[in-house]
């Protein structure tokens, strides 16, 4: 209890310290007219103004919907591809160039490429999918390849059925790899999805809010939208960690 209180105080203290530093640097930059930096209080005021608007929440909902749909599709397809390439060398050899290509091309290049053929409101979903898909795929494949064959051999000899071997040996071996890839993938999905929104500007999205605020030189609004993106990212990460590392995972296990 005492340790927890100490940890929380230390975290809160460090955040306050960085906000103070932001305030000092911002005040200095603004007074010397070097460049404009919105101060923490201005950002907070703008953030409160934003959250009062229904259009802001519509943008948040739309971005979440698009990015999460791409993410979920990537998890499902990544799982299938990972299983296939972990079990079949032929599939792995055939499919490997796709994963290499996706991993080596910069996300911005993919966004521009996608923009050639795909409607701008679908691009965030597609880009989130594209960034997460190889992460899940490779981790599931790695998990499958790390299954201890001696355990599988022992279980088979001692009378375990194939289904029981999958349930008791293979799935528990893959699970930590899959879990970590889902948590990492969610962060990637969010960041790449918002980047796609900023570039392609689909109407009524967080990325479009950010892009428009920048075009209108509304500095405080730019900071407020970035703050929203950070809050949503932390929120998503903690929700998935709670379910995946906490209750849900224990039940599955």
């Amino acid at each position: 209890m005492k340790n927890n209180l100490k940890k929380i105080s230390l975290k809160a203290g460090s955040i306050l310290l960085w906000i103070l530093l932001w305030h000092i640097l911002g005040s200095l930059a603004n007074s010397k007219l070097l460049f404009k930096i919105p101060l923490p209080l201005d950002t907070l005021k703008e953030f409160i103004n934003c959250v009062k608007l229904p259009s802001f929440w519509e943008a948040v909902a739309s971005s979440l919907l698009h990015i999460l749909s791409g993410f979920i599709f990537a998890v499902v397809l990544g799982l299938i591809f990972g299983m296939l390439s972990g079990n079949s060398n032929i599939f792995k050899t055939i499919a490997e160039p796709i994963s290499r290509l996706i991993r080596s091309v910069p996300v911005a290049a993919f966004i521009i490429l996608a923009w050639l053929w795909i409607p701008s409101d679908v691009i965030p979903s597609f880009i989130s999918f594209l960034m997460v898909f190889p992460i899940i795929w490779l981790q599931v494949e790695t998990g499958l390849l790390s299954v201890d064959n001696r355990l599988v051999e022992m279980a088979g000899v001692m009378g375990m059925t194939k289904t029981e071997i999958v349930k008791n040996i293979k799935i528990p071996t893959i699970m930590p790899f899959f879990r970590e890839s889902v948590i990492t993938g969610l962060g990637f999905a969010w960041k790449s999805g918002v980047a796609a929104e900023v570039i392609c500007n689909p109407t009524g999205s967080i990325g479009a809010l950010l892009s428009n605020a920048k075009s209108n030189l509304e500095y405080a609004k730019v900071f407020a939208v970035v703050l929203t993106i950070i809050i949503l990212s932390l929120l998503l990460e903690n929700i998935i960690k709670f379910f995946w590392r906490g209750n849900l995972y224990d039940k599955i296990k």
Partner: protein, 187 residues
């Protein structure tokens, strides 16, 4: 019950078995004895169906269920000691009783990573003995055990085994004698 007729087996270019024959009948307790590389473990793997002979044939009565202690403990690392035993159909009562006999009752709910080498070996033995089987296969079953634990484990094996066949691989003639085995020398 199990018959190996003129078996030939090689790992790539290294010939391990040549014209090897063995017959295991009910009540037989056979110890495969010989130097490293003489093919003892290979014979066990052939009997268990984990390898296919290059020459000769293996005849086995249908639906024979083995219980095995491999050269390595092969405990499932993410299952508790008790789960490692009961996953294969053993009832919990028998598992706990045998664990107690081998001095491991307090470790039933521990994970394999919490066990020493000798403890893991004893759990592997309990796993084999707690489950229903038609014949027992033991590959160096007493590795890492002190004499007191070897004696206790041998007593339990003798008791559970009854008249079922045993195929044992060991480097120690004394251990084979504890299990009342006849020797099958491999060159």
């Amino acid at each position: 019950m199990i018959k190996l007729n003129n078996i030939g087996f090689s790992y790539e270019k290294t010939e391990v078995l040549k014209d090897f024959s063995l017959q295991i009948s009910k009540k037989d307790r056979i110890c495969l004895f010989g130097e490293s590389g003489s093919g003892k473990t290979t014979i066990l793997r052939l009997i268990l169906g984990l390898e296919t002979p290059l020459k000769g044939e293996i005849q086995k009565a249908e639906n024979l269920k083995p219980a095995v202690v491999f050269q390595e403990d092969r405990l499932i690392p993410f299952k508790s000691v008790l789960e490692n035993i009961t996953l294969f159909g053993a009832d919990e009562e028998t598992a706990l009783l045998y664990l107690e006999r081998l001095g491991l009752k307090d470790y039933a709910n521990k994970m394999p990573s919490d066990l020493s080498g000798g403890m893991s070996r004893r759990v592997a033995l309990v796993r084999a003995l707690s489950n229903q089987f038609d014949y027992l296969v033991l590959d160096e079953p007493f590795t890492g055990l002190d004499q007191e634990n070897i004696d206790t484990a041998a007593n339990l094996i003798n008791e559970v085994l009854g008249e079922k066949p045993l195929i044992l691989v060991t480097h120690s003639k004394a251990e084979a004698e504890l299990l009342n085995c006849t020797f099958e020398e491999l060159v």
